[in-house]
Symmetry: none
Subunit: 250 residues, 2 copies
């Protein structure tokens, strides 16, 4: 049996039981005692487990790893606040469109228990929506590997057969002159179409997106309400002149 394989088995067994005896591992892997000892020493050095007399236990710092993940996205706090506010705009009976993107993803936990129907083009969103038992329709189309978003002709066509009370769109750039923008033209098309099909459209963008612009235009400023978190009034002036701006305060 290969070292790698053994290590996997050890860690799996460990995750399952919390503690393992050396002897168990010897049996489970058909290896000698000294081999297992060496494995344990190595895995301990890699911080995958902690050795104890007679075997090994899991580390207690699972939590830390999770919190590291939590922090992974930038401006997470701001995004969360924006998302929570946006979710509060959703009312029972609404049929909403959720655009793929990390900010809109954060909305989902706050949609729990609302009596709504959601349409989305984000596979990541879908998984979470199902977890929260929210009835969901997915657009069809080509799957963009990097973002797991549905784009292209198929997505547009699928979109045409719906109409929404509200839509919530993410944008990479918000500029008082160039409007809402995003890098991928195909995604921009989908976002734009969703906005057009909605009674009320919202773009979610934290302050780092303000005065930035990306390659493809999604829509003009006036076509959607901007939800952001910046507090400096002077920065917002040019936007307020052109559209409704909802500012989420801390």
């Amino acid at each position: 049996m290969l070292t790698e394989e053994r290590h996997r088995i050890i860690l799996e067994l460990l995750a399952e039981k919390g503690v393992v005896k050396l002897q168990e591992l010897v049996e489970a892997t058909n290896s000698s005692e000294s081999t297992i000892r060496r494995d344990l020493t190595q895995l301990e050095k890699e911080k995958k487990l902690r050795r104890i007399h007679g075997g090994a236990t899991v580390l207690q710092k699972k939590r830390e790893e999770l919190s590291v993940l939590e922090k992974s996205t930038k401006h997470r706090q701001e995004k969360k606040q924006i998302a929570e506010y946006a979710a509060s705009l959703v009312q029972n009976g609404d049929c909403i469109y959720l655009d793929a993107g990390t900010t809109t993803l954060e909305m989902i936990p706050h949609l729990y228990d609302k009596d709504i129907v959601v349409v989305t083009n984000g596979i990541m969103h879908l998984d979470m929506l199902l977890e929260y038992d929210i009835p969901t329709y997915l657009l069809g189309g080509f799957v963009k590997k990097k973002t797991k978003a549905l784009i292209g002709r198929g997505a547009l066509q699928a979109l045409q057969s719906y109409s929404f009370d509200k839509c919530f769109i993410g944008a990479n750039g918000v500029h008082y002159e160039y409007g809402y923008t995003t890098p991928d033209p195909e995604e921009a098309m989908v976002k734009h179409t969703a906005i057009q099909l909605s009674q009320k459209a919202y773009v979610l963008a934290d302050h780092s997106k303000l005065n930035e612009s990306a390659f493809s235009k999604i829509a003009e400023l006036h076509e959607a309400v901007l939800i952001t978190d910046d507090l400096a009034e002077e920065w917002l002036e040019p936007y307020k002149a052109k559209t409704t701006v909802e500012v989420v305060t801390k």
Copy 2:
């Protein structure tokens, strides 16, 4: 044996087992040790696998998916064999439809490195297809929580805009009188439509499905080739009278 073919075999074996010993590969390809070594070195550089002492393993990402598969379901061995055979029917350049379902899911590792386009209605399938870098289109529509399959009007409509060289469908019942069946009428509709849109249609069903029938009819027997694993000739007689049956031997 051509290099390319060897590489395909290596990656397939790897996708199936998660880890392979160098010696296994030597046997599987009838090549020398040094040849395999060179292959492994090259494939590692291409980030298709990771070398370890004594062989190679899949990359970390794919590992998780494999473990999901491991745990899934009864008759796994049979399903695997059926799936592997089905995958062998897929040729470069094909555009195929993969129905949601555990058996068709098993096909995916064997599709690795083939030059194909896949359309599916299974979210689980999608995730795995992306991992294996296979260009994928997803049907739209309502998401059935339990099976993570796309069904309903939206899915049917999305389906209409494609046509396939081959489709691979799962069925819960195969009966010489009632044909292919499945419990959910909405799913049955999708499956039936896919069959109609394909040049060549295959239904994948292990022997436990034979002579069973479920609520909703997918199609008549003659509309699709049956791929199964039962060996008892007398059981197969009535089916062979009505359609082509491909029996996967052990």
